[in-house]
Symmetry: none
Subunit: 246 residues, 2 copies
């Protein structure tokens, strides 16, 4: 990973369990640096450790601060996550734009970025948000936008992880099976056409080319593997056998 | 909202609480149609309702099915969420590509899409994944990729909500033909299996499940149209006929 992940800063989180779930969500996205401002229930927290589901690398290295100002002191670029619109003149950017912004700033190699998240119930106070460069808004259903803290962290961290992922070809077969050569498909289809033709499948000769083209289209589109071709050949052989007497 | 959201299908979920959190995550992203296959702890579920945090519109309208095949019967395009690589030849696409794919298919106004999620611990079984058109992989930190069920649902639904750039998919059929419903494919495959079984295709009974799964995988992957299903039915009828005397 050549990009520096953003620092996640939880401001006055209430439940240890939520902090642990945030740590887990962070590590899911390869984001590892967690800072916590004045956790209500103290630190270290057994419930946080337990809820982190093994994200010890994150939860065990979390740093505790008394104030938000202290927690962001060494950062160059800070985003404040907020659902409500704020009574302040500050740019608002959406998650995907924020993710690219962080990537770009890291890419230049000098700017350390952090993302602020407020307490579970109330969100960030204006005094905290005001220290950020921009407000970060997670686009959600406006009729039902209340997110769990760890889910907000997950969406933002995952946007960062996914930003700038080199485009992965959409179509990868999952195993190492060998795709059939076109000639194998051709061979199968010629056999199939011969078998059905000899059984009067094509009642109207003038429709035969269209029907054959449609059949061919289906089998080529599915792009059979070599094994699948063998199975399909076996099925044809089987179907044209007479049924054994019971 | 001019795009039809995907249907979310939870296969054999264990905890009601997780089902409720999935419903909440869905509604956060304006995804409202929930289907549940054989929930372990029964239905309706008090704990699901409570964990949904007010997403009554989703949890109250959830439909229960006995089998995955029933739950996807009316869908044209199905994605199977899976972390592990599978021993099957099936395209794998990442979350953002999947989101655009669903948007694009909805945009053409005809294709109803669904996304399968497996049980909390084990994930989807191969027999379920095989009925999907593609496998859906959520890109995560490979060293720590275990996601809570509701977080997987959240990431996938949020990708759908955020995908507002429909692109032209290579996978869309080029003409206006209607894709077959999953139940039509199921009907065809059941008939095919019966016909070859009665002709001693399965010499080793213990290999039958694997062979059947591979056959099913090929036909589901090719995503036949309604017309192609009719043609394939006709081909089976034809092949099992005795050849007329010359």
């Amino acid at each position: 990973m050549s990009f520096l992940p953003p620092v996640i800063i939880l401001v006055k989180p209430q439940l240890g369990e939520n902090i642990g779930m945030c740590a887990r969500a962070m590590l899911n996205c390869a984001v590892t640096e967690l800072r916590i401002v004045a956790p209500r229930d103290g630190w270290p927290s057994e419930s946080a450790l337990s809820a982190s589901a093994g994200a010890v690398e994150v939860i065990g290295n979390a740093k505790i601060f008394n104030t938000t100002a202290d927690a962001i002191a060494d950062l160059e670029y800070v985003l404040a996550t907020t659902a409500r619109s704020r009574d302040m003149s500050k740019p608002v950017i959406l998650t995907d734009v924020a993710a690219r912004e962080i990537r770009t700033r890291n890419n230049s190699g000098v700017q350390k970025c952090g993302i602020l998240f407020g307490p579970e119930r109330s969100g960030l106070e204006n005094e905290d948000a005001v220290m950020a460069n921009v407000l970060l808004n997670i686009p959600l259903n406006p009729q039902f936008s209340s997110l769990n803290l760890s889910q907000a962290v997950l969406l933002v961290c995952h946007a960062w992880l996914s930003a700038d992922n080199p485009f992965v070809s959409a179509e990868i077969l999952t195993d190492e099976e060998t795709l059939a050569k076109k000639s194998d498909i051709e061979f199968l289809l010629n056999r199939l056409e011969g078998e059905i033709a000899s059984r009067d499948f094509f009642r109207c000769p003038e429709q035969r080319p269209t029907i054959v083209r449609n059949i061919r289209n289906f089998f080529f589109r599915g792009q059979p593997t070599e094994q699948e071709i063998r199975t399909l050949q076996g099925i044809i052989s089987c179907l044209i056998r007479e049924r054994p007497n019971p």
